[in-house]
């Protein structure tokens, strides 16, 4: 428990480290998600045009 607390707080410097990690994860997630959304949109448009 103390080990986890030390990692989280890091003598008051944890907020800097965890914030950077959070920014990194958000940017990576967006870079994964946005192209998937584009592909899904193209697939949906194609299936709609086929139904018409």
């Amino acid at each position: 428990m103390e080990f986890i607390q030390n990692i989280l707080i890091m003598d008051g410097q944890g907020k800097f480290v965890w914030f950077v990690l959070l920014v990194f994860l958000i940017v990576i997630f967006l870079n994964y998600y946005l192209p998937y959304r584009t592909i899904r949109k193209i697939q949906k448009e194609n299936s709609q045009s086929r139904e018409e």
Binding site: M10, Q13, V23, F24, I28, N31, Y32, I39, I42
Partner: protein, 241 residues
């Protein structure tokens, strides 16, 4: 290899392998670096930002170098896939450079006492970020894809001069920024239990870049080639995700 259908199939096969491998390598590097590497005797724990900052900065410059190579290929041979690579790599380069800038600013506050200084390394990295933004903006403003490719190629080839300036800025000018962490000619300035997780993080970042690039290239190829027979055939055999 230069044909979009071939590359699309290749990227689709590569993606399911690269994504989990890159995630695994990155997890090992980050957990080791943030959870188990020793604290720095001077900076304490805040130095752990290095495990995100340095790989992002290296990748931001490497992606631009790759873009300049593909830009040259696009200008000389008019290869369609090279233009698609440029268009897909630019947002990734901008993202990694932005992470490097933000993490650098957050690291600067507790160590230098300020978020930002107009120092040679920081300013040249900011210029690199603006170059990426310029290339993305150029693609958005030019409707003709071929013209957009040529204009972006030109900027990426001309702008490559910024990469050696960033690399050498800490040697050429008096800066607050420390000298390079990685060097091919000298031994590392940090102990193995700090250096190894950093090395793993750098490798993990390169893997994640390949995975993200494959993903973006698939979307870009489908967008540009959506009226061709092979894309229609591919889409007709797929159900929406």
């Amino acid at each position: 290899m230069g044909s979009p259908p071939f590359f699309f199939e290749w990227a689709s096969k590569l993606l399911p392998w690269f994504s989990p491998i890159s995630f695994l390598i990155l997890m090992i590097g980050l957990v080791w670096g943030i959870g188990f590497a020793p604290s720095d005797y001077k900076q304490g724990d805040v130095y752990r930002i290095i495990f995100v900052h340095v790989p992002s900065a290296i990748l931001g410059q490497s992606i631009y170098l790759m873009m300049a190579i593909f830009g040259s290929i696009c200008l000389i041979w008019r290869a369609k896939l090279a233009g698609m690579f440029l268009r897909s790599a630019a947002p990734l380069g901008a993202s990694f450079t932005l992470i490097a800038l933000i993490s650098g600013a957050v690291w600067g506050k507790p160590t230098w006492g300020t978020w930002w200084v107009w120092d040679a390394r920081l300013t040249s990295t900011l210029i690199l970020f603006f170059l990426y933004v310029g290339i993305i903006g150029l693609y958005s403003s030019i409707d003709n894809k071929q013209r957009g490719d040529r204009a972006a190629s030109l900027i990426s080839v001309v702008g490559i001069t910024i990469v050696p300036i960033i690399k050498k800025s800490v040697d050429w000018w008096q800066t607050l920024h420390q000298s390079s962490t990685f060097s091919l000619t000298s031994s590392p300035s940090m102990t193995a239990d700090m250096y190894l997780p950093l090395l793993i993080c750098v490798i993990g970042f390169y893997f994640i870049f390949v995975a993200l690039l494959c993903n973006r290239l698939r979307a870009e190829i489908l967008t540009r080639e959506r009226n061709t027979g092979w894309v229609r055939e591919y889409l007709n055999n797929k159900v929406p995700m």
